[in-house]
Amino acid sequence: MQVQDLIDSGRFKVISLGEDRERELTTPFCCDLLSVAMGHAPSGCAWVTVMGNINTLAVASLADAACIILAEGAALDEAAANKARMQEITVLGTEEPVFEAALWVWQQMKGQD
């Protein structure tokens, strides 16, 4: 399952389109505390969070997440939206809670195995 498959699913609002959309997802990962995510987000994860500030983008890029999914209708503030464009990170959005969004990604990943 690739980042592009998440985009194509139509299930998410596309907030920012990143560069490496052919990247394989390793797992969904859920956490809102930045340094916990920094320490534990697996490389290539779809990071599901409600934090849409610029630091989320920095952590996603440095911890090497494949994309960000903003749950609960969370939005990017303007500085974060600029950063997403600059760092070329794919950011998707959903009204769903964190668990439901992550579970859906997980189920799709398993379905394609």
Partner: protein
């Protein structure tokens, strides 16, 4: 020894720029062909140190030395210093103020991440004078 030296000045309280030095180092290490695992370790450890300088120490200076053997990060600030280093190193310990906690900081995991993602971490600190953190990631 021949090596590459990079220098960065970190501005205090500027969250819109925080992480830029770490991102730049990440990009340069990638270009140099450093292994993805080592790049990731450096990126994570340096970001935690960089953001700590922004939040806790009024900014500072970061020097990164790259040789084929190792990547050395030296983070020097003139902030308040760390009263109890052992306590600060504990997972979950944080003095982060509420306004940065609301951004997602303050889990008290930054220093533990810096330790676990590097091969060596040294903290020199003096109250009222500042803190210098030296971290090393060894390469093959």
């Amino acid at each position: 020894m021949e090596g590459i030296v990079l220098n960065y000045t970190i501005s205090p309280d500027d969250f819109t720029r925080a992480g830029e030095a770490s991102s730049d180092v990440k990009r340069k290490l990638k270009q140099l062909g450093v292994s993805p695992e080592a790049v990731r370790k450096v990126a994570i450890a340096m970001y935690e140190g960089e953001i700590n300088m922004v939040i806790h120490a009024n900014g500072g200076e970061i020097t990164v030395e790259i040789t084929p053997e190792r990547i050395l990060m030296i983070l020097a600030d003139s902030g308040p210093g760390i009263p109890d280093v052992e306590k600060a190193m504990q997972a979950g310990y944080s003095t982060a103020p509420d306004e940065v906690r609301s951004l997602g900081f303050g889990a008290g995991m930054g220093l533990p991440n810096m330790k676990s993602y590097t091969d060596d971490l040294k903290i020199e600190t003096k109250l009222g004078v500042g803190t210098t953190i030296t971290m090393e990631v060894r390469l093959e």
